[in-house]
Symmetry: C2
Subunit: 209 residues, 2 copies
């Protein structure tokens, strides 16, 4: 099992490696990765071990092999078809974000309860009525869904998603959704991320007084 | 100093407490908070200690005092005027998100290098040319900025922000920006969050085979 802190660092390594590949770099050391990302090189070596890629003493890791290995670990080398629920402003930005395909995320349909949105296409993806989600999720074997509805509507939408057999939810609503134990929930971290920033800024400003 | 993991949990407590307040609940125990959020109650008690709010044996914490204390810890009881750089699809969604004011974040201007966008207003916020950022940041004493430009343009924009005296950056571009040591950077966690989700889903699917 790969520890969650390691899983969260792997995309950083991947972004860096993809950049290096673009620049024609063939191999890289864990020290180089650590310096670039402001991490500890022992930590980087430990993380990379989970990908089963072995570095050579003089040259380090093969960039291509490490890219493939990380993508396989994260399952980003295969497409996961996904639904998006709540085609509002954040949902629309996400439907238009082509780079999600690099992370193996492929939106196939969006759902909303606003009659003005249903029937429209957003970035080429059709917006359907939320009532149709359970049947379509079963038919299309959709396991992953992104939730971008307001907090007040979140639990009600989750219950509909569960009826359709969704087992992995990326939740952007700022509240705790309740799901059965086998369902995977990853809460997007907007308010947590901002909390760290505003706190650190206020502490920094104190030092200036 | 409040540890970062505690800082990241405080917004969860705050969302829950604000909900309870709306329902007229006057006091709450750390056990109740822990159960609602799927956390350990000892952890909740330790976190709350950082806010200096003392619970009473029988009744627990006063909801209002705990809300105020957490908002003060995070500096969300005061407005931090901020700039947003990159008025694209994600930037637009964020400029329109009224709830950021609950987190003390108040966008006062947006910047872009696309001549079609400069001079427009997005959700009432004027989009200005990126060249004007350094002077305006100094004049308006802006310390915090949100970066929603593509990765290729990120470092160049950061260098402009630093010239303006920005000391706290909320970075949405999927790459590591380089800043002097005194500058606070909080990377938004889109790809990290998705990594955890897709990995857990692929492990779960293996168990079904
Ligand atoms: N916009 C941001 O920058 C931002 C930042 C952080 C968090 N969020 C969170 O992301 C979520 C979406 O935010 P937004 O700014 O896109 O809001 P929004 O109001 O623009 O969009 C919400 C969408 O959900 C739909 N909806 C509402 N109830 C529904 C229901 N019962 N079934 C199906 N669809 C329903 C609405 O019709 C709308 O299209 C919210 O929970 C918000 O708190 C947004
Ligand atoms: N859209 C999403 O759902 C999403 C999700 C995760 C991460 N991101 C990241 O957020 C960032 C923004 O994404 P987006 O989808 O809004 O992209 P976008 O292309 O819609 O918007 C980018 C904006 O930045 C502006 N820009 C480009 N170069 C600039 C420069 N040198 N100076 C000033 N402005 C400049 C563009 O004119 C455009 O308005 C990207 O780094 C992206 O990887 C987006």
């Amino acid at each position: 099992v790969i520890p969650e802190p390691t899983l969260r660092r792997l995309p950083h390594y991947l972004h860096l490696l993809l950049n290096l590949k673009e620049q024609g770099v063939k191999s890289v050391s864990s020290t180089f990765i650590a310096n670039e990302l402001g991490l500890d090189s022992t930590q980087v070596r430990k993380d990379v071990q989970y990908t089963n890629i072995i570095g050579k003493p003089k040259t380090g890791f093969d960039v291509n092999s490490l890219i493939n290995a990380i993508q396989t670990c994260l399952n980003w080398n295969r497409y996961e078809n996904a639904f998006l629920i709540g085609a509002g402003s954040l949902g629309t930005a996400m439907l238009g974000y082509k780079q999600f395909k690099d992370y193996g995320l492929n939106f196939v349909a969006a759902f909303d309860n606003d009659p003005e949105k249903v029937g429209q296409k957003i970035h080429g993806i059709e917006v359907l009525s939320i009532d149709r989600l359970p049947v379509l999720a079963q038919l299309m074997k959709i396991h992953l869904a992104v939730l971008t509805v307001p907090a007040k509507a979140a639990q009600e939408c989750v219950d509909i998603m569960l009826k359709g057999g969704i087992v992995a939810i990326w939740n952007f609503a700022p509240m705790q959704i309740k799901v059965p134990q086998n369902v995977i929930v990853e809460n997007a971290q907007f308010s947590q991320s901002l909390a760290v920033l505003t706190r650190k800024l206020s502490v920094y400003k104190q030092t200036l007084l």
